[in-house]
C-alpha cells in the first residue's frame, strides 16, 4: 500500500490477556517507530527500529512490552498480561533511513487498544 498500515484498527480485550499489534511500513522505509497516545500521557515514543535492529528499548513502558521486526519490514508490538493502563492508541510511523533525523515520519492510523 501507499501508506503505513496498522492492524487491527481497534482491539478490545480482557485484562491479563496478551495482544499483538502489527505495523506494515511504507515500502522502502527502513526506519520504523512505535508511539503510544493516551489521554494522560499524550504522545510517548516507545521504540525505534533501523532495519531489524532496535538499538534502545528503554522507552518501552515495562517488561510486558516487546517489539520485533523481521525482514526489515513488518513490525509487531506485543503486550503481555495487559493492564487497564495499557489502554491507548498505538501509532506506528516509518521514514527513509538516509539522514534519519531530518526525514519526516509518516504515520499509520493507529490501533485503539481497550482493556476491560
Amino acid at each position: 500500500g501507499a501508506g503505513v498500515s496498522q492492524s487491527p484498527s481497534n482491539k478490545v480485550t480482557e485484562k491479563g490477556k496478551d495482544v499483538e499489534l502489527r505495523c506494515d511500513p511504507i515500502s522502502g522505509h527502513t526506519a520504523l517507530y512505535w508511539y503510544r497516545q493516551s489521554l494522560g500521557q499524550g504522545l510517548e515514543f516507545l521504540i525505534y527500529f533501523q532495519g531489524n535492529s532496535a538499538p534502545d528499548k528503554s522507552g518501552l513502558p515495562s517488561d510486558r512490552f516487546s517489539a520485533e521486526r523481521t525482514g526489515g519490514s513488518v513490525s509487531t508490538l506485543t503486550i503481555q498480561r495487559t493492564q487497564q493502563e495499557d489502554s491507548a492508541v498505538y501509532l506506528c510511523a516509518s521514514s527513509l533511513a538516509w539522514g534519519v533525523s531530518n526525514q519526516p515520519q509518516h504515520f499509520g492510523d493507529g490501533t485503539r487498544l481497550s482493556i476491560l
Partner: protein
C-alpha cells in the same frame, strides 16, 4: 531531556481568518528539527510543516507558515485563510539529530483547533 510545550489546549477561528498556534521547547542542542503535525478524528498524524534549526528562513507550505525564533525557543504555526478541513488536533514536535533516529520525536500535548463556519 527535551520538552515541548503547547500552552493552548483549544483554539477557535472563523473560516477564512488567520490563526496562530503557539509552541515552545526546551533543549541544550544547537541543531535540531521541529515539526507540526495535524491529527484529524481519523487518528492519522499528517505532517504539516518542518523546520531545520540551522535555517534562519521560516518554512512555508501554502497556507501554513511558521515563526521560528531560535533564541526564544519558539516555533509557532500560522494558518492563513482557515478552512473547515483544517479542524484537527495540532501537535508540535522536536527531534534531536544526534540520536541518529533512536530517540524519536518529542511531542507537545496538542492544540485542538476549531473552525467556525
Amino acid at each position: 531531556a527535551q520538552t515541548v510545550t503547547q500552552s493552548q489546549p483549544e483554539m477557535s477561528v472563523q473560516e477564512a481568518e488567520t490563526v496562530t498556534l503557539s509552541c515552545t521547547y526546551d533543549t541544550s542542542e544547537s541543531d535540531y528539527y521541529l515539526f507540526w503535525y495535524k491529527q484529524p478524528p481519523s487518528r492519522q498524524m499528517i505532517l504539516v510543516i518542518r523546520q531545520e534549526a540551522y535555517k534562519q528562513q521560516n518554512a512555508t507550505e501554502n497556507r501554513f507558515s511558521v515563526n521560528f525564533q531560535k533564541a526564544a525557543k519558539s516555533f509557532s504555526l500560522k494558518i492563513s485563510d482557515s478552512q473547515l478541513g483544517d479542524a484537527a488536533m495540532y501537535f508540535c514536535a522536536y527531534r534531536n539529530p544526534s540520536g541518529g533516529g533512536a530517540d524519536g520525536l518529542t511531542f507537545g500535548k496538542g492544540t485542538h483547533l476549531i473552525i467556525q463556519p
